[in-house]
């Protein structure tokens, strides 16, 4: 699907609409002609008007217009669907290209250093340095693979764990303690102003995946000297809100809705500004939905941090 083929759906759509409008107009026109013709015949031969089919013009026009309207709606729906499919395809291509690079780069590095170590006698200090690089690359690969697998699992609905009524404050607390080392240099604070426990039926495996993705994003899209994330528990009348506020690079208004789309990455693979996998927030939204909730993003703009709120209905 390249640029030139993109024009076909629009042309087909416009052409169909024009053809439809033309046919409606012609039907009505010919009908009127035939009608007047028949009336002339009736008058000429002095027939009983009721013998010849009495037709009510306006009924015919109404019925015709209705049918045409339905056809038009159908064409439009198919057109919009086509558009969305193309958009998804393009996003997918973008994602595949970026991901190919994301996966191939650490593999290249690993292969390079392994072949180097096999070929040359290096000092222990140098060996250790390069082995360190290789471990970093393996971790990078592992993360990427993990994310793709998570996505596959969620989409095929085969994830482990059951929904157990748990205290979310405790769950988040334990998660941050056990995984704090994954976010070095970042200050993570949990605020619970109501000082109550937040009980909700959660699948801990999935919930931790959600937390991991949100926190990883907060750290990744952050260029401040002292990155910070504030997690606040907010109890409302009809919902339980979990706010994740960071002092990162923020989100532009135009991107706020798009970032949750599957494969959507801010930036393009072509100029290498696409950092993430395009999957993280899609996963997060999916998990929220599985828990009957949703996630919304807010940001005051570029450089002004972002707030992701998980809304769980009571």
């Amino acid at each position: 699907m390249d640029q030139s083929k993109w024009f076909y759906p629009i042309i087909v759509f416009i052409f169909s609409v024009l053809a439809l409008a033309a046919s409606l107009f012609l039907f009505i026109y010919w009908y009127m002609e035939v009608s007047t013709g028949l009336e002339a015949v009736v008058a000429r031969f002095n027939l009983e008007p009721s013998v010849v089919l009495e037709s009510r013009t306006w009924v015919v026009i109404l019925v015709l217009s209705l049918l045409v309207g339905i056809i038009l709606l159908g064409i439009f729906t198919i057109f919009v669907y086509n558009l969305k499919t193309y958009q998804l395809y393009r996003l997918q291509q973008n994602f595949i290209n970026n991901f190919t690079h994301e996966l191939k780069t650490p593999v290249t590095s690993l292969k390079l250093f392994l072949e180097t170590l096999s070929k040359h006698e290096l000092s222990r200090a140098e060996q250790l340095k390069y082995i360190g690089y290789m471990i970093q690359d393996v971790n990078r690969l592992s993360d990427n693979i993990g994310r793709i697998l998570d996505l596959a699992r969620i989409e095929s609905k085969s994830y482990p764990g059951e929904f157990v009524e748990s205290d979310l404050v405790a769950v988040v607390g334990i998660f941050c303690e056990t995984n704090g080392h994954l976010f070095p240099g970042c200050e993570i604070n949990i605020h619970n102003p109501a000082e109550k426990s937040f009980n909700y039926p959660v699948n801990v495996y999935l919930f931790e995946m959600l937390l991991m993705n949100l926190l990883t994003n907060a750290v990744k899209y952050n260029s401040s000297e002292s990155p910070r994330i504030d997690i606040t528990f907010d109890l409302h009348k009809q919902s339980m809100n979990l706010r994740f506020e960071d002092n990162g690079i923020g989100i532009e208004k135009t991107q706020i809705k798009k970032i949750f789309r599957k494969f959507y990455q801010v930036g393009q693979y072509k100029d290498m500004t696409a950092k993430g996998s395009g999957l993280g927030l899609h996963l997060v939204q999916n998990i929220a939905r599985i828990h009957k909730g949703r996630v919304v993003a807010e940001s005051k703009g570029n450089g002004k941090g972002s707030v992701f709120t998980l809304i769980l209905p009571l």
Partner: protein, 241 residues
């Protein structure tokens, strides 16, 4: 450092591990190596350091490797360039080769193969240097004709509508860029980036002025250009039969 007798290799690669790994291996082979982690610093290193060979990754942050390649080729058609890329499909290789790359390795590559290809490219390059003294081997040698115009790249002159003119270095560069992309539309931005080397000190207005100049030189009727045409929204296109 320039006269140490060692061959100089410039590695333009954004992943720090790979860049360091290549530098290590090439140094151990006896070459002088410099690395650059994006296109612009790569171009600066190339201009200042005059390497004998360039190892280039296509997917670079900011400006992509192929545009960098085009920019280099405008000034130096001979310097061997080896591309390493995660994109390994036939059409990616064809793109690279059509822009004048000498060798194309897809990632992940074999270290030995990489080293041997580098060595081979350097050997061939040193032959070409001898050939250059004999005055052969360049794509833009001799005269280039289009319509009634003849451009001589060796002498930097052109015989055209207004007679014989001497072309400036920048005019020559821009002409080469158009000829290399004959029949393909070029945006003003692309012309700026490749033709002026991303210096950022020039605006697209300058590109327009050069086009006006070219039309004055080469078109029978500058108001109705046949060779240097404008494409609305897109930019310019150079074509002739």
């Amino acid at each position: 450092m320039k006269n140490s007798g060692k061959k100089r290799i410039l590695v333009i690669e954004d992943d720090i591990h790979i860049a360091e790994g290549l530098k290590l291996n090439l140094s151990l082979q006896g070459y002088d190596v410099m690395t650059a982690k994006d296109g612009i610093s790569g171009l600066n290193e190339w201009k200042e350091w005059s390497p004998h060979l360039i190892v280039l990754d296509i997917m670079l942050p900011g400006i992509d490797g192929l545009s960098i390649l085009q920019n280099i080729r405008l000034e130096d058609e001979q310097i061997p360039v080896l591309i390493i890329s995660a994109k390994s499909e036939a059409h990616d290789r064809i793109m690279g080769l059509s822009f004048g790359v000498d060798d194309y390795l897809s990632k992940p590559f074999n270290l030995e193969e990489f080293l041997l290809r580098v060595e081979r490219l350097l050997v061939r390059a040193s032959w070409s240097l001898k050939e250059e003294r004999a005055g052969t081997g360049k794509i833009f040698s001799g005269a280039y004709r289009f319509g009634d115009n003849i451009v001589d790249f060796e002498k930097s002159t052109a015989i055209c509508r207004v007679g014989k003119v001497t072309l400036t270095e920048q005019e020559l560069k821009l002409l080469k860029l158009f000829i290399a992309n004959k029949g393909k539309p070029l945006s003003r931005r692309k012309l700026l980036e490749i033709g002026w080397g991303y210096t950022g000190a020039v605006t697209t207005r300058t590109v327009d002025n050069f086009i006006v100049r070219f039309r004055k030189y080469f078109e029978i009727d500058p108001k109705k250009p046949r060779y240097f045409k404008s494409l609305r929204v897109v930019g310019y296109i150079f074509d002739h039969d």
